[in-house]
Symmetry: C2
Subunit: 123 residues, 2 copies
Amino acid sequence: MTHPETVNLEEKFGRFTEAWSPRIVGELNGQQVKLARFRGEFLWHAHEHEDELFLVVRGTMRMGFRDGDVLVREGEFLIVPRGVEHCPAAEGDETWVMLLEPASTVNTGTAGGERTVTDLERL
Amino acid sequence: MTHPETVNLEEKFGRFTEAWSPRIVGELNGQQVKLARFRGEFLWHAHEHEDELFLVVRGTMRMGFRDGDVLVREGEFLIVPRGVEHCPAAEGDETWVMLLEPASTVNTGTAGGERTVTDLERL
């Protein structure tokens, strides 16, 4: 085989501008690595069967939980366990986030609705 | 529940100094997030059932493959599929790496030997 390719996060973020529209940049062990731009606030939702990791690559993320908000800064990550309601948001203009979650994960979880994105683009 | 805790990568790396001795800093969906300091070269090995993600947090990693080396810089990641022989190394003095792999993964894979680490510390 030829060896696997290096993924440069900044280069991949440069390939899209839409907020709340994750792109797939890697797969391993049934999980997907996704990149997303956050602007403003998303919506309250939970995932029934999937834990989610959010690693902040640029800016600051504000993750809303029912018992209070958590700020996650560049170089920090947060794991949201399955079943836990959360509301992701950018703190400031824009936040770049690397997500890790099972391939089955839908962005809006059990909330659904018009902000649901399917057929994610692979970069 | 109380909300999950933010993990600051730099703070966690500050808690250990040993090279080639991964620490566990998170778990999700049967996977573990580990941090490791690389100094010099590790050893050739493969994992029979586990894909591994290597995200470079500081410095540069050199990943040896049987058909050539790949350099992975800060802000870049590489996924090594199961079954693929690889030899991780630091390019330069030291490299800080965040790994993501199944909880079952042993650092030396099928190679085994004295550099095998079990009972990883959780930070």
